[in-house]
């Protein structure tokens, strides 16, 4: 730790303001509780233990990010919570009730393209309310309201393929939120966006979260994104997927892009880096000696370095 950032404060240090905020969060009721959750996949190559003994809870209106190396089971975890996959051990409770299948109390935003291409933006958002049995007019009113919230009321009658990637994800967020879920599950929702759009979407998401009563569980593999968004970060490790650490982000709110260089931010990032990309172990003597034999295909004088 100290080797990497000798002059940074510890990521565990919290200002009074931040500490008070975490006190307040802890006083709220638990929305999502995950206890000793495990998942084994049976595949032709044998059993894969994707998750083992996952323990954590999320309180109302908390913003929790899940981070971890590729293949550590992040998607598996969120899919179990969404009710799309079944866990093989432990339990997952929403408001104290076990999760057994998908439901409108949980909204999900996928990484990939998940809008219904045959429906206009407005009808995509109306999908949930209509499934709930709401009348067309009521559903339309709801949809318009939520489209306004994500700033896309002008595109209500466009088809998804006419929108940019960022706009599509905004529609997907509106479509999930219109059902007024207790928790919003997001699996790398901005993973496919370019850096600029992504930054905009992050602040936009925070704005939405601030204004409505929703709890967010957000998966990402981008460390900056996790720190910028989250109250707490759940760090997973792979093979099998287990909780490595739960970090309370010491960066004060409201969050602003300017905070990326603050000492708290850098301290947290340094900690995440050591957890996720541990320093490579020195190679054994004989392996170090082997240099790959590189054949040169260009002119001897044509040097690039």
């Amino acid at each position: 730790m100290n080797l990497i950032a000798p002059c940074l404060p510890s990521y565990l240090d919290q200002s009074d303001e931040v500490r008070a905020r975490f006190e307040r969060i802890r006083s709220r009721e638990v929305i999502l509780e995950v206890r000793k959750l495990g998942k084994r996949y049976r595949s032709p190559q044998g059993e894969v233990e994707a998750l083992r003994g996952i323990d954590f809870s999320v309180r109302r209106r908390e913003f929790v990010c899940v981070i971890g190396p590729s293949g550590c089971g992040k998607s598996t975890l969120i899919r179990i919570l969404a009710g799309l996959d079944r866990h093989t051990s432990g339990e997952a409770l929403l408001d104290g009730k076990p999760i057994t299948g998908p439901g409108q109390d949980r909204g999900m935003v996928f990484q990939g393209y998940s809008l219904f291409p045959w429906l206009t933006v407005k009808k995509n958002v109306m999908f949930g309310p209509r499934m709930k049995g709401e009348g067309y007019d009521q559903a339309e009113r709801d949809a318009k309201l939520w489209l306004e919230l994500v700033g896309l009321e002008k595109f209500a009658d466009a088809y998804p393929h006419q929108l940019s990637g960022g706009m599509r994800q905004r529609v997907a967020i509106a479509r999930a939120l219109v059902n007024q879920p207790r928790i919003l599950l997001m699996d790398e929702p901005f993973g496919a966006l370019d850096a600029q759009t992504r930054a905009k979407m992050q602040s936009h998401l925070i704005d939405i979260w601030k204004n409505i009563d929703v709890t967010v569980l957000f998966i990402t593999h981008d460390l900056d994104e996790a720190i910028y968004l989250a109250d707490r970060i759940l760090v997973l490790k792979a093979h099998p997927g287990e909780v490595q650490e739960v970090i309370e982000v010491p960066v004060p709110r409201p969050r602003m892009p300017g905070q990326f260089n603050s000492p708290e931010f850098r301290a947290t990032k340094a900690r995440l880096e050591t957890l996720i990309h541990p320093a490579p172990e020195p190679l054994p003597e004989d392996e170090q000696a082997v240099k790959p034999h590189m054949i040169r295909f260009t002119d001897v004088h044509d040097n690039v370095e």
């Binding site: 998908p102 949980r106 909204g107 045959w118 999908f127 997907a172």
Partner: protein, 320 residues
């Protein structure tokens, strides 16, 4: 240069595409014209215009070139009148203008022979057979395909059998169909159904399985399940592809038509073609064959256009 020759299909702009498309029809037509109208290309026969001294020659008789030459030599030796003739193609290859005339006459002028059905009447009969065959097949095949593609258990329950059945050639059921359904339209429609249905179930089940799972999962998280999931997500999700499949299957149904129409009492366009071939009216034969092609191609073109109207969100149609 090479890269320009092998340009991707999408790089060719619309006008060039139309031109190339017309060209693809003009090239074979040009070849046909060359063979028909240039006497020194092919023309293996001689059309006798004046029999001269040859006793078995008649005006408008087609003889082999070699035989004609031999007879000319014979007549020269015998000092008789030389036969006259001009190079000609065999009777089974009429020239484009003859076929065009037959085509025009077939539709505009009344039939020359009253005991033979006219081309429009024959065609109309064929179209009805296709329509009913394809409709019956679709009424069973489309729902079964969608259900098999959606529910793995149902798919396993019928697909292996269908896979086996589709290898049984439909025409092989001809005699059986006649025994059961009589000699008129019943067995013909049955052959088209047998030829189409089994492919249809497999193709549509496959199309259904290719629907993006994320869409189904998204719908489930939004609260839809069971029948609603099927009618509000699966069906609209595959609709453009389903439509494309149906277009291809309709083309297959046409290919079964010819066999179907030979079963029981011959009828329709196939009957017309065989009759005309028997009388050696090959111009009519070609005109009828081309009409089938035009109807198939034309209806597919119309359906493709319609598809673009019906499914404005479908991006794959832009590339066609």
């Amino acid at each position: 240069m090479i890269s320009r020759l092998f340009g991707r299909a999408a790089d060719i702009d619309a006008r060039k595409r139309t031109l190339l498309g017309i060209g693809s029809f003009l090239l074979p037509l040009l070849a046909w014209c060359l063979i028909s109208y240039t006497p020194f290309i092919w023309h293996p026969k001689v059309l006798v215009t004046d029999p001269g001294g040859v006793d078995y020659f008649q005006v408008d008789m087609l003889v082999d070139k070699a035989m004609f030459k031999e007879e000319v030599a014979n007549m020269q030796q015998a000092h008789l009148a030389l036969p006259q003739g001009r190079p000609s193609n065999p009777i089974y290859l009429p020239a484009p203008d003859e076929v065009a005339k037959a085509f025009y006459n077939g539709f505009v002028n009344p039939p020359r022979n009253t005991d033979v059905p006219s081309m429009p009447a024959s065609l109309w009969h064929s179209i009805q057979i296709i329509f009913w065959g394809f409709l019956i097949s679709s009424v069973i095949g489309v729902p079964l395909g969608i259900l098999s593609g959606t529910y793995a258990t149902l798919g396993r329950l019928n697909e292996p059998f269908i896979e086996f059945f589709r290898y049984l050639p439909a025409p092989a059921f001809g005699a059986l169909a006649v025994a059961i359904l009589g000699i008129y339209n019943g067995p013909k429609i049955a052959i088209i159904v047998i030829g189409t249905l089994f492919q249809q179930v497999l193709i549509i089940a496959n199309t259904t399985r290719k629907l993006e799972t994320t869409l189904i999962e998204a719908a489930r998280t939004l609260g839809s399940k069971n029948l609603k999931l099927l009618t509000k997500v699966v069906v609209p999700g595959i609709l453009p592809d389903l439509y494309r499949d149906q277009r291809i299957l309709l083309g297959w149904a046409w290919t079964y038509l010819i066999v179907a129409e030979l079963i029981g009492t011959s009828s329709g366009i196939t009957w017309f073609i065989t009759q005309q071939a028997r009388y050696q009216h090959f111009d009519n034969v070609y005109a009828a064959i081309m009409t089938i092609g035009l109807i198939g191609f034309g209806s597919d073109l119309v359906l493709a256009r319609l598809g673009r109207r019906l499914f404005p969100w479908d991006r794959t149609q832009d590339r066609q």
